[in-house]
Amino acid sequence: MSEHRAVVVDGVSKVFNRGTPRQVEALVDIDLTVGGGEFVSLIGPSGCGKSTLLRLVANLIEPSTGEVLVAGKDAPRARLDQEYGMAFQQAGLFDWRSVARNVELPLELKGWDGSRRRRRALEMLQLVKLTDFADHKPWQLSGGMQQRVAIARALAAHPRLLLMDEPFGALDEMTREHMQAELLRICAETETSVVFVTHSIPEAVYLSDRVVVMSPRPGRITEIIDVDLGPSRTVETREDASYFKKITEVREALRAGEDDRETEAVVAEERSSR
């Protein structure tokens, strides 16, 4: 049943600037399925195509080959139906709007009326602990606070799917842990599925049901690791032995991906020198 699948990525490749000297093979043969309510992290070295994969799911770019389904619909349809919310590496707030009005933006585009928007925006700001700053302008906030506003904005319309690209990268460790716990709580409550890009192995393990490990360019999925830490994760989870075991497993998978590439490079070199 496709309705139970939040995301299906089927045989997707992405080549940028095909046929030009700046041609980049960003993704090769990606197959990935995200179930309803599932939390999946993408992890891999810089430039391996994590953001590209996320943008393909969001239909911000088109795949070169293959097919992307979101909520059972093809990706363009899903985007038009606003099936997902998104948070980027950069907060991307609108300078001329107050914090609350930034959070209201997706609701505005959905045609919600003013008071309903405002109520939801304040609810979301409470979630990220920024109620006091509702009427501030974004540039009056620190980088981390701005990122929290961006997360509130992504959650505002209560989408069934969240696409997040290193959203916590700019936060301090304590805020980050708090945001991670909050994100898990919200997703569990609302049965939201998440595709989450991160550079942090502990973050990936703590948050995810599955961690997708990707290899350096051209990006492939080298391994998908099930993280079975029980239904609810708490502060204790971070000190649990099974948590550390998973972290090690992901780290080794990442290193294996790198090694593969080195072997390939050596083989290619030998081939060309022959």
């Binding site: 969001a58 950069q90 001329w96």
Partner: protein, 261 residues
């Protein structure tokens, strides 16, 4: 606090200006320079006093020309910049042309316009100001409409925003500081164009005409009185535009210097 800041920032230029005037006066008297060569500030003040009505009338004429051209040029510039954004081809054609025209003194075109209209008409000058302002506003506002943060465009795309929504939620607000930067440049340019255009003939009532017609012999001091009028007019336009720009930029958190280049 702010008053003291104002004093410390305004104090030195004022002192310098007064000292300069004093020196000027002393040189004219000390070397006994003839009025047709250089008038003393005291004589100029006298001339302003004697001709206050004439100078005021001329200032109103030139000021009105500048203002009318500024308003129409701004409206036109904004309107066309939207059209450029809508139609890419137009943009590729017009923008390089506009940039090039901004770099040359196109106000000499006023001689052509003078031949097209009645000799007493103010239209040629207003038309000239309009054209100068139009290109400045066009180039800047078009840039503001185009240079939107890529993240903003992606976000709006992810919200399935219509082209109209992209315009109203991102492009137009983004272009606002660019408009006020354009006005800061265009306002003094409008005044300069308005009275330089008077040098090229046409009706004989503005500041530029007052300067040229009086800048001979004993009337030199009167010419200077018109110069003072012209400077004041230019300063007023400039200060209003600068205040507007810094007000807008402060509200945006860009700082009074502006974030638009």
């Amino acid at each position: 606090m702010t008053r003291r800041r104002l004093l410390t920032s305004l104090g030195p230029p004022i002192v310098f200006g007064l000292a300069f005037l004093g020196l000027w006066e002393a040189v004219v008297r000390g070397f006994d320079l003839k009025p047709y060569f250089l008038s003393a500030p005291s004589k100029i003040v006298e001339a302003i006093g004697d001709n206050v009505d004439n100078v005021w009338d001329a200032t109103v004429v030139s000021g009105t020309n500048a203002l009318v051209g500024l308003v129409i040029g701004t409206l036109l510039g904004v309107a066309v910049s939207f059209a450029l954004m809508r139609f890419r081809v137009l943009d590729d054609l017009v923008t390089p042309l506009a940039v090039a025209l901004n770099a040359i003194p196109i106000f000499v075109l006023v001689t052509v316009f003078n031949n097209m209209f009645a000799i007493t008409s103010e239209v040629p000058r207003r038309l000239m100001v309009t054209i100068v302002v139009y290109f400045i506003v066009l180039v800047n506002v078009a840039k503001g409409l185009r240079q939107v943060q890529p993240t903003h465009l992606e976000l709006l795309r992810s919200y399935a925003a219509s082209p109209t929504a992209v315009l109203s939620k991102a492009r137009i607000p983004n272009a606002v500081p660019y408009l006020f930067t354009a006005l800061r440049i265009a306002a003094p340019a409008a005044v300069i164009t308005a009275f330089v255009a008077e040098y090229f003939g046409g009706s004989q009532n503005g500041l530029g005409y007052g300067i040229t017609s009086n800048s001979a012999g004993s009337k030199n001091a009167v010419a200077w009185a018109y110069v003072v009028g012209a400077c004041t007019l230019g300063l007023v336009f400039f200060l209003i535009a600068v205040s507007l720009e810094s007000y807008i930029n402060t509200r945006r958190g860009l700082g009074p210097g502006g974030g638009t280049t």
